[in-house]
Amino acid sequence: MTDPADARHIAYGPPTAVLELESVTRVYSSEPQVTALRGVSLTVREGELVAVVGPSGSGKTTLLHLMGTLDRPSSGTVRITGVDTRRMSDRQLSALRATSIGFIFQQFFLAEHSRVLDNVADGLLYAGVGLDERRERAVEALRLVGLGERWQARPTQLSGGQRQRVAIARALVGEPAIVLADEPTGNLDSATGESILNLIHELNTRGTTILVITHDQGIASRMPRQISMLDGRIVADSSGDVATTRGDAGSRADGSSRGEVLLPWELRR
């Protein structure tokens, strides 16, 4: 297996966008109506490690739903690896998730009666990969998260941190274009959470594009790029050492979103 990081260095020019949101709005038609997102635009490029941070109710979970194609925006566009999801059917979106998006959840969501190996292999179940290949790739993914030896264990025999590693391996096994992590350390003590964050950093340096949703400013501050949310809007987007392309995204966004998105250079004092 070639290291994807090498491939990234060989490729010249700006990294491709794996996730693009363009003036995305999400209104829940409950009584009264709730507007969870108001014209959000953002671009995540290949190889980035992004934190979306904000207090509860800021719209970050809704943002995750839309980025993960688990929900559709009321208006605006979501593109995954350049593919517009607006006109895709529910079936096609499912297939897109199976091949291009990995999820990591706060509650891990592991099948307790299946072996660790099969939990990870299930990450490829709906991508049309045969059982033998699923297991082979699961072993590799487990090795990547440092659990190569525990493939036969049941999730109940593992510690919380190990369980989250299994869940991370499941998200990685399909080599998705982007991994979305929802409060990945939310159910872990601080030391274990630390090791999971280190793993996320390590995976990112190996080439995986990861977006972490968190309410914890401390966790967010350790990510190269932080997007702050409040009341359904992006209030800050600080890019770190990754080649910044915010000018791009800003010029593509229409006028209305322009006013709501603070560009990086506007934030830097």
Partner: protein, 400 residues
């Protein structure tokens, strides 16, 4: 914009079974209990059908062993309602029909039998006395259980052979020297007791004596009343049509001709009418089992919201979720059905072995039982599967 070429792949059958089976394995006890309902229903149906088929096969085998070529000729009635008599020459005339292989006969002697002279005369025990020819037993398909039968010498002496039921009613179950019964006001010595005669039950409740003895001691007129005829097996119908005329050429309508095995076959078929009731009970059990399966599936869908949400996040389509839960319900019912078929088959085999019947489990019984189980599983799982598929992934994942 380029339209994405994203392929949706159906699950491979092996994966489908793994996924659905995994759902069952996580809740073994509950799955087993709800499969038990199906199992009991299917077992009841298979056992009822299997037992009735086995008992029928047992009876038919018995009839086959005894032979279907036995015909009986009895005296009918005259035009005026009186009992007609068969001519004394009837057995000899019947014996001249070429397809007839054996002819034996009995004659009703109007006498009663008692254990001793102290028994009130009304306690006849419904035992009749018959004069019998000397080779009767093999023709009516029975044999001697204890002692012996009449022979040319003893037929002229006051000796008697008891039919199986007659022996029981008289309280005699073995033969020893000096054993005697009071027959027509005289002592007759008991020389033998017979086994049951399935094809000629009238022999069972009779006491048999020799024709010469009946004439000597009881004033019997020597007219036969029942003639037992064995014919060549492929000529039974032809012989049957000739018997009336051969027995009594002057008044063939005063003769009754019958084939005892035909009546037994009809009885075997009639027994299965009772089975409808038990089949109905089995169907009710099956229905209750189906409701059990539906119940566990509804609960499973509610309990497993996060699993459904996770699978949607991993790329499962609504169709994937639907087929998973439907397969799970069908597998559950199929497990119940398989267990039920085995239970029904074992019950049938045990009972049939005890009764000495051949073990017959008709294919419609087990195939039908399995098919019914699968159908019930599919129906019971349909609604829960649709509900699971309709569940929104975000609600399933974030509202736990």
């Amino acid at each position: 914009m380029i339209e994405p070429a994203v392929a949706v792949r159906p699950l491979r059958p092996s994966d489908l079974v793994r996924v659905a089976g995994g759902g069952l394995r996580t809740r073994k006890i509950r799955a087993a209990l709800s499969a038990l309902g199906i199992a009991i229903g299917v077992a009841a149906i298979v056992a009822v059908l299997g037992l009735s088929a086995s008992s029928e096969a047992g009876l038919l085998a018995e009839i086959d062993r005894l032979g279907t070529n036995l015909l009986t000729v009895t005296n009918g009635q005259t035009l005026f309602g009186q009992t007609a008599e068969l001519p004394k020459e009837a057995p000899a005339r019947i014996g001249r029909i070429s397809a007839v292989t054996e002819v034996q006969y009995t004659g009703s002697v109007g006498a009663s039998v008692y254990r001793s002279q102290f028994i009130p005369s009304i306690d006849t025990n419904a035992i009749s006395v018959r004069a019998a020819s000397l080779d009767l037993l093999p023709v009516v398909g029975t044999s001697v259980a204890h002692g012996g039968y009449l022979n040319a010498a003893s037929a002229a002496e006051p000796v008697a052979v008891l039919g199986a039921a007659a022996g029981q009613r008289l309280g005699i179950d073995r033969v020893f020297p000096g054993e005697r019964v009071r027959l027509g006001g005289q002592w007759f010595y008991v020389v033998g007791i017979l086994n049951p005669a399935v094809l000629a039950p009238e022999i069972d409740s009779s006491v048999l004596i020799g024709f010469p003895a009946a004439e000597t001691f009881l004033g019997f007129d020597g007219h036969p009343s029942t003639i037992y005829v064995r014919s060549q097996t492929d000529q039974v119908a032809g012989v049957q049509s000739l018997l009336g005329r051969a027995a009594n050429p002057e008044a063939p309508n005063q003769v009754n001709v019958s084939q005892p095995s035909a009546a037994l076959v009809a009885r075997a078929a009639a027994q299965s009418a009772l089975n409808t009731l038990f089949l109905g009970l089995g169907a009710v059990a099956l229905l209750v089992g189906g409701i059990g399966v539906a119940n566990i599936m509804v609960i499973a869908v509610l309990e497993r919201r996060s699993e459904i949400g996770l699978r949607r996040a991993l790329g499962a389509t609504r169709g994937h979720i639907r087929i998973q839960f439907l397969t799970e319900a069908i597998m559950l019912a199929l497990v119940g059905g398989t267990v039920g078929v085995s239970m029904g088959a074992i019950a049938t085999a045990l009972y049939a072995t005890v009764r000495d019947w051949p073990v017959v489990i008709p294919p419609p019984a087990w195939a039908g039982g399995l098919a019914a189980a699968v159908l019930i599983g599919a129906v019971a799982g349909l609604l829960p599967a649709l509900r699971a598929a309709r569940m929104s992934p975000t609600e399933a994942l974030w509202s736990v």
